[in-house]
C-alpha cells in the first residue's frame, strides 16, 4: 500500500490535558515530511503514539495499514530527542544489539558512517560528548532499511557542519518505498529537503501542503509562512 502513515480522528489525553485532538493525516511513501509546530504542540506525542510508547485515547493510527505493534516496530526506525542508549556499552556492542533485534539493520552502513565521522566503534558511550552520542544514535537509526523514519529534532543543538552531514545522510538514505518524518522547529535549515509539511498547533493539524505549493502560491518560504501562521 502506498499510504504509510494514517491517522483518523486521533486523540490523546493525559487526564484532562488534551495533547492531540481529532488529528486526521495521510502520508504517502517516498516523501520527506516536516512535522512543524511550536513546543508543546503535540509533535512528540504523535511520534510516541506511532511507536506504541503511548496508546491513543480514541481514534486510530495506522502504519502501513497496521496498528502500532511488533510488526510496525520492525519497519519503523525512531530517533528520539534524548540519548537513550546504555551508557556503559561500547558502540560496537550497540551495533550488535541492533543487528540482533532488527532484521533490516545494516551494520556495514553503520561502520561506514562511523568511520567517516571519525568515531571509534570501541569507545564507550559514556566517554563521548553529547554531540557525538547524538551522531551515533542517528547513524544507528539511518542504518536500518525501514519503511518509516521518525526523527524527533534531529538537528537541534548541533553545529552547522554536523547538521549538513545529517541532512545529507537523510537524503542519501532516501528510497521511494520509505517516508521520513522530521519533527522540528528549526525550519529554515531543513526546508530544502522537504516534500511536504504538516503544521501542528495545540494538538490539532492546522495545515498540510507541499513545499512547492507554498513557495509557488504564497511566494514565501516555509519558514516565512510558519512565522505568519504561528504569530503570537
Amino acid at each position: 500500500m502506498s499510504t504509510i502513515f494514517e491517522c483518523t480522528d486521533l486523540t490523546k489525553k493525559f487526564g484532562s490535558k488534551v495533547a492531540l485532538s481529532g488529528v486526521n493525516l495521510k502520508l504517502e511513501r517516498g516523501q520527506i515530511v516536516g512535522l512543524l509546530g511550536p513546543n508543546g504542540s503535540g509533535k512528540t506525542t504523535l511520534i510516541k503514539l506511532a511507536n506504541e510508547l503511548l496508546t491513543p485515547t480514541s481514534g486510530t493510527l495506522l502504519i502501513g495499514g497496521k496498528k502500532p505493534g511488533i510488526e510496525t516496530k520492525k519497519i519503523v526506525s525512531y530517533l528520539p530527542e534524548k540519548t537513550y542508549l546504555n551508557d556503559w556499552m561500547r558502540v560496537r556492542q550497540i551495533i550488535e544489539l541492533f543487528s540482533d533485534f532488527y532484521e533490516n539493520f545494516k551494520p556495514e552502513k553503520a561502520y561506514d558512517m562511523l568511520k567517516s565521522l571519525n568515531i571509534d566503534a570501541n569507545d564507550r558511550l559514556k566517554t563521548m560528548s553529547k554531540g557525538t552520542k547524538e551522531k551515533v544514535q542517528l547513524i544507528l537509526v539511518m542504518s536500518r532499511e525501514a519503511e518509516l523514519y521518525l526523527l524527533d529534532e534531529p538537528i537541534g543543538g548541533v553545529d552547522p557542519a554536523a547538521r549538513d552531514y545529517i541532512l545529507k545522510t537523510i537524503l542519501g538514505n532516501y528510497n521511494e518505498n520509505a517516508t521520513v518524518i522530521i519533527s522540528t522547529h528549526l525550519i529554515s535549515d531543513i526546508e530544502n529537503i522537504l516534500d511536504y509539511v504538516v503544521f501542528i498547533n495545540e494538538g490539532k493539524v492546522v495545515m498540510t501542503s507541499s513545499v512547492d505549493d507554498i513557495r509557488h502560491e504564497k511566494g514565501q518560504s516555509v519558514n516565512g509562512l510558519f512565522r505568519e501562521v504561528f504569530k503570537c
Partner: protein
C-alpha cells in the same frame, strides 16, 4: 527474541555480579589463610580486618541482587533507556520475563557462591566425608519414613522456593509499574503500592482459608506429626498450597505489571 533479551540482560548484570563473586571467593580464601595464622599468635587484627571485608562483600553481594532487581526494571524500562527497549519489536511481557529470570538467577547464584565461600573458609580435612556420611544417614531415614515421595518432596521444595522467589520479585515490578502511573512522587507511590500489594497478598490467603473445608486442613493436630502416613500427606498438602498460592500471586503481579507497561506506558 526472549533469548536475545536474556543475553543482553545477563551481559548488563554479569559485569556487576561476576566481579563480586570473584571478590567474595578470593576473600574467603584470604580468610582461611588469615584464620590459620591465629595458630602462630599473629595479631588478631589481621584476621579481624579480612573477616570484616569478607562480610562486607557478602552483604554487598546480597544487597546488590535486590538493588539490581529494582534498578534493571526501573532504569532500563521506565527511564530514558525505555525508548530503546520499548521500540524493539518485542512483546512487553518478554521484557518482564527476561528480567525476572535473570534476577532469580543471580539470587540463586549468590546463595550458591556464598555457600561455597563459607566452605572455603570452614572446611576442615575430613569434614567433607563427615558431611557425606551425615547426608547419607539423613537420606536413608527420609526414604524410610516417606518412601519414594522424598523425590517429589525435594522437587516441590525447590519449586516452592523458585515460585516464592518469583513472586517476591514480581511484587517489586508491579509496585514500580504502579508508581510509574503517577506524574509526581513516583518513588513514594511505588513504596505505597508495595505495601498495598503485600497487604492484599496476606488478605488473599486469609480469604482462601475461609473457604469451607479448607479449615479442616489447618486444624490438623500436632500429634499427627507422628502419624507417618498423615505426615507425608500433610507435607504434600502444605507444599501444594504454598506453591499454588505463590504461583497465583506471581500471576497476578505479572498481569498487573504487563498491563501497565503495555497499555499505560508514559515515558518522560
Amino acid at each position: 527474541m526472549l533469548r536475545k533479551l536474556l543475553k543482553y540482560e545477563l551481559k548488563a548484570t554479569g559485569r556487576i555480579f561476576l566481579p563480586l563473586f570473584l571478590a567474595l571467593l578470593v576473600f574467603a580464601a584470604i580468610n582461611r589463610f588469615t584464620l590459620s595464622l591465629d595458630k602462630f599468635d599473629a595479631p588478631a587484627i589481621i584476621s579481624g580486618i579480612s573477616m570484616f571485608i569478607y562480610i562486607i562483600i557478602m552483604v554487598g553481594m546480597f544487597a546488590m541482587t535486590f538493588i539490581m532487581t529494582i534498578q534493571r526494571f526501573n532504569k532500563n524500562l521506565l527511564s530514558d533507556e525505555g525508548y530503546l527497549m520499548f521500540t524493539l519489536p518485542v512483546k512487553p511481557w518478554k521484557h518482564i520475563v527476561s528480567k525476572l529470570f535473570v534476577s532469580m538467577l543471580w539470587m540463586v547464584a549468590s546463595g550458591i557462591v556464598a555457600l561455597i565461600s563459607i566452605l572455603i573458609i570452614a572446611l576442615k580435612k575430613g569434614a567433607f566425608t563427615q558431611f557425606t556420611e551425615v547426608f547419607a544417614t539423613f537420606y536413608l531415614q527420609a526414604i524410610e519414613q516417606l518412601g519414594a515421595s522424598v523425590y517429589l518432596l525435594s522437587f516441590e521444595i525447590i519449586l516452592g522456593i523458585l515460585v516464592s522467589l518469583a513472586s517476591s520479585i514480581l511484587i517489586v515490578y508491579a509496585s514500580i509499574a504502579i508508581g510509574h502511573l503517577f506524574n509526581e512522587h513516583k518513588m513514594l507511590a511505588s513504596f505505597g503500592a508495595f505495601i498495598l500489594l503485600s497487604t492484599l497478598a496476606q488478605f488473599f490467603i486469609l480469604l482462601v482459608s475461609l473457604i469451607p473445608g479448607i479449615a479442616f486442613y489447618t486444624n490438623v493436630q500436632i500429634s499427627s506429626f507422628l502419624d507417618f502416613i498423615g505426615l507425608q500427606w500433610l507435607l504434600q498438602m502444605v507444599m501444594a498450597y504454598g506453591i499454588i498460592y505463590a504461583a497465583l500471586l506471581s500471576a497476578a503481579f505479572f498481569a498487573v505489571t504487563n498491563r501497565i507497561i503495555s497499555k499505560r506506558l508514559n515515558l518522560e
